[in-house]
Subunit: 362 residues, 4 copies
Amino acid sequence: MKNTFGSSVCVTLFGESHGTATGVVLDGIAPGIEIKEDFISAFLLRRRPVGDISTARREQDVFQIVSGVFNGKTTGTPICIVIPNNNVRSKDYSFSLPRPGHADLTAQFKYHGFQDYRGGGHFSGRLTAALTAAGAIAVSALKNRGIMIGTHIKKCAGICDDDFTDPASQIPMMQSKGFVVLNNEKGELMQQKIRSASTEKDSVGGILETVVLGVPAGIGEPWFDTVEGALSHMLFSIPAVKGVEFGDGFAFADMRGSDANDPIEYENGKFVTSTNHNGGINGGITNGMPIVFRCCIKPTPSIGQPQKTADLQSGENTVLEISGRHDPAIVHRAATVVDSVTALVLCDLLAQRFGTDWLKGE
Amino acid sequence: MKNTFGSSVCVTLFGESHGTATGVVLDGIAPGIEIKEDFISAFLLRRRPVGDISTARREQDVFQIVSGVFNGKTTGTPICIVIPNNNVRSKDYSFSLPRPGHADLTAQFKYHGFQDYRGGGHFSGRLTAALTAAGAIAVSALKNRGIMIGTHIKKCAGICDDDFTDPASQIPMMQSKGFVVLNNEKGELMQQKIRSASTEKDSVGGILETVVLGVPAGIGEPWFDTVEGALSHMLFSIPAVKGVEFGDGFAFADMRGSDANDPIEYENGKFVTSTNHNGGINGGITNGMPIVFRCCIKPTPSIGQPQKTADLQSGENTVLEISGRHDPAIVHRAATVVDSVTALVLCDLLAQRFGTDWLKGE
Amino acid sequence: MKNTFGSSVCVTLFGESHGTATGVVLDGIAPGIEIKEDFISAFLLRRRPVGDISTARREQDVFQIVSGVFNGKTTGTPICIVIPNNNVRSKDYSFSLPRPGHADLTAQFKYHGFQDYRGGGHFSGRLTAALTAAGAIAVSALKNRGIMIGTHIKKCAGICDDDFTDPASQIPMMQSKGFVVLNNEKGELMQQKIRSASTEKDSVGGILETVVLGVPAGIGEPWFDTVEGALSHMLFSIPAVKGVEFGDGFAFADMRGSDANDPIEYENGKFVTSTNHNGGINGGITNGMPIVFRCCIKPTPSIGQPQKTADLQSGENTVLEISGRHDPAIVHRAATVVDSVTALVLCDLLAQRFGTDWLKGE
Amino acid sequence: MKNTFGSSVCVTLFGESHGTATGVVLDGIAPGIEIKEDFISAFLLRRRPVGDISTARREQDVFQIVSGVFNGKTTGTPICIVIPNNNVRSKDYSFSLPRPGHADLTAQFKYHGFQDYRGGGHFSGRLTAALTAAGAIAVSALKNRGIMIGTHIKKCAGICDDDFTDPASQIPMMQSKGFVVLNNEKGELMQQKIRSASTEKDSVGGILETVVLGVPAGIGEPWFDTVEGALSHMLFSIPAVKGVEFGDGFAFADMRGSDANDPIEYENGKFVTSTNHNGGINGGITNGMPIVFRCCIKPTPSIGQPQKTADLQSGENTVLEISGRHDPAIVHRAATVVDSVTALVLCDLLAQRFGTDWLKGE
């Protein structure tokens, strides 16, 4: 299905970094969900480059809702949102010299030279703006059912943030910050490290941790649409995500079953687990506990240092110095994209489970 | 699409651990691919429990090819393989007491008590036998195009195996072993640790590392059917997989762009990268380098120690002691399942890219 | 998706006419639906050849439920049903001489000679037995929600049956007959004509008309999963179906808008239409009126007369005389397959609309 | 998948009749296909209302290619085309009174009053402009492989056109006409009848017949993605299509097998059939002969006569007189939409069969 994902709630992405626009079609969202353009704008703002730790390219992310919203509410038919590209400097880009760590070379393998190579074209992080616009609507829909998603920078440039202790109150607080950490001092340290890397014409990576509260138990499928499978499928679409782990994730490798199993209790009329090593998912199905996962974000591939590459036309081995405008880190910007993708996948799984009107709320 | 995965090559899984049989339908495999039942048997054998480090339940994994193979070759129509369940001891299982770490509780949430709870029912690792039978055919098909998949136990119970140095020759050698490691001494240590855990009525986890050689460049889609997304979707279906990472994976978090980017070279008429931090994939598309990824396998949830749980019918909090027959580790058995799933996903991506006959070879 | 159809309720078909078995996997059916093997047997019986107007090949259609049913009820996980082939006379079939009107030649084009050509292989009407077994379960599920499907032979060999006047009472009566007509005398005439054709080593076609009662309003999608589109997609899979029309269908061509439009009334607290020219569907969405459609069934291609064909290996133009056992008409047998396919598609659309548990009933 | 169709080549439709715009995303088209905006314009023009036999609403159908085309050629990534709505007179439409024969009532059932009811909203024939823009690209792609599609008005208002005798030369000639018939005199008669109906504030229906030349043999799947199934799925999405038949279609009902079977011949190095009753498809697979099918188009539901309806809010039974601007016939306009949909489905089936680059040509 290529550029479309989902069964009941489907998202289709289009556009190129230096073309007319990027955009998204979001289909299957229940009718009657209130759409506040202010909320979408604010949500998009969280993804935008900020201050001296981000690219100097400053798109306004002015979005246009082309369809699917009428009198301020979703109609139930496909919502198309277009985000025009304005602040474009295509001359910064050359077809001939593929940038290491980017998709330039693989785009050439796949599209045989017909790809729009400018600024990464269809592979550009710019497309995550459209994805985030769709995500804002999905987040709004989930709120109607009391579902809340929060992502913080667990680690960046070697500095670790605190852990969630009370996500229900921490998530709203954290999201109002420009740099989504729980511990502001750690956040400052991370930003210093990012600035250092920037000064050295280099970039850094990090880890994002996401918690989702309020997802009903019993969502997902055993084979093959597990909650982990569906989420990871979309999460790996986010440029620079190279690892996804749920619950204790890779730390399970060094644990024993007696530590890894979450004891089951009946408490206040509900079956719960007293720990949450499995991150709210067993056998691919939600158990009603918070969903917890982490994504690894690799260092931004665009760096100012000279890098070895080869000319696509002549085959000559040469050295590339990327000028242009780039991010020394994208981990803080990717957090909102992770939230968006998570919201979209959950909307799909919930609509599959409970029908197309469920997200509207009661 | 629930229990079916794939667009051009599709796999559908069915069956319950203590029902009549488990099985698989594999659709979209090119006609004319030679099917050797010996090869499938041998492949299934690699997944079977071995010696004192595995469950005492010894299914023969006698499989029956019900359709799609004629005169020893694939017909191009759906291949159904059924594996009857023989060695069943259902009395070991109780509906009332969900086992911690298993899908018993989530199955109850999803199926409201109608699930076949015996031995995990449809969630059982038994279904991976059927998946492995389909995988054997996918592996055969890929061989026609020179594609080779190998998985070793990177880590188990705290012991690390060596790294691949020459996978093209190491993969065939390693696969003939019962316990898939590159370094036999490390393998022995791992097995000792597994035995210790078993003695203590406990279990251990581990990490599997997979290398795929020979996949053409230009496979996969930017949004959302990236190679990482498609592979992880299926990999997370394998019971106990809780993390998937590609290339340097979570280690990218502590790297800088100057280390993480793979320099591009033109060499012997091909564009290659001189390092492979990105595990053969950029922007979701293969670049022709080896595909490298790791899966984390959590410790087997079935352990002999008393565990807290609650009665599904009465709600009473109680303690469960699992008797039955169980694996103190499954990491070594999961390796073949990872190979299978990888082969199935690659067959799908390749058939999408090059058409339905491509896998047949020239 | 090839041999799988559906989003929320999915059906996968496998098998060959003269192979080990044919079978089906039905996934996504709600848990807790009672499965009576007697009902499935009776339903399969309706599809079976009857008397002197059908093939002499008499398969028992003994089916085995391999998975997805536990304690007499659906579990919610995939239901696999296998129907072994017993009464096989493969020597009646030759690979070299493709039978006109059959899929022998197109199978050769598609599968390059690797297809199982015996008895039509995977293209055989035998696979509709498996489809009918799945259909029986879908019909049971729909009954829980008061939905009833009935198909009669509207026309066969030039003889027309009466029209439905009171389908709610006519459908159950009619279905207990071996030959599904509303007017028994017309049915007798049809069967005489079929016998005449048989005597002349020829075959006849016909038209099936289906009515579905009780489908809720508001099912289906505008683009592209209209109820008409989804139903026709599956109906055209039934061998020999070459036309599908809804409501007044092709007769609309000669009507005017003033006759074709169904006036809307508010009656007994519901919006209804006072006529039903549109067959219960407007804009691809159900309006709560009976769904009405017709399928044209072409004459059975297997006839005893000599027919021109060409040898697939030598290219020699020659004449084929089909011996074997064949049906001079299949329109009466196809009726149950149409019911089955209709039930399966409706289960899918309803589960998409109302969620996976809806079919279970309240 | 709702508003998206296709596996390898996918089309997603969005927009409302009186909203900002309608549009389409076309994904999976091979890179390197030349896109001439003139050709798309000319193709759209064929769908536009013409003269006094069509609605007075005259949209310019000015389209904007938002993505997926670079330097005049397809990039291989999703092509988004937006067609702004300009000539909008929303006051002609009322939410309260659903128009008989339209989707107004079913939209209310499905979307609970949140639908954009103006001009039919998302159900409007306006969306076929976007579908036609995508169709123009699909038609261009098929031309690279020598595949040609032609649709004529087989019947309108009781008048029949001639049959195709030499489609390869007739198709190009016919398509340059404003009113797509083979026999101009019959076309004139049809248009007179349409004018008469218009004078009487009524509308007429008709039948479209389509021929496709040059499709390779061996395309399609036995279950369930038959060529007939895939085509009909999309054809029934076209507003007003209520019947689809292939080859001799419903006429098969009165034929015998000896007339219906197409004799097979080996001729000039190819296996062909000497007649084409089956319309180029056997067992759901193409046989290399021309694909032939017909669609019935019901009379336009918008008529000027008073019609019975009921108020959605009060439930009061009342009479509606539609003013607004409407077509007394749409059969001539629908022809281009049928061509478009046919081209899109064939691109999908061909890309599935031969891979994503095949449509680019050699």
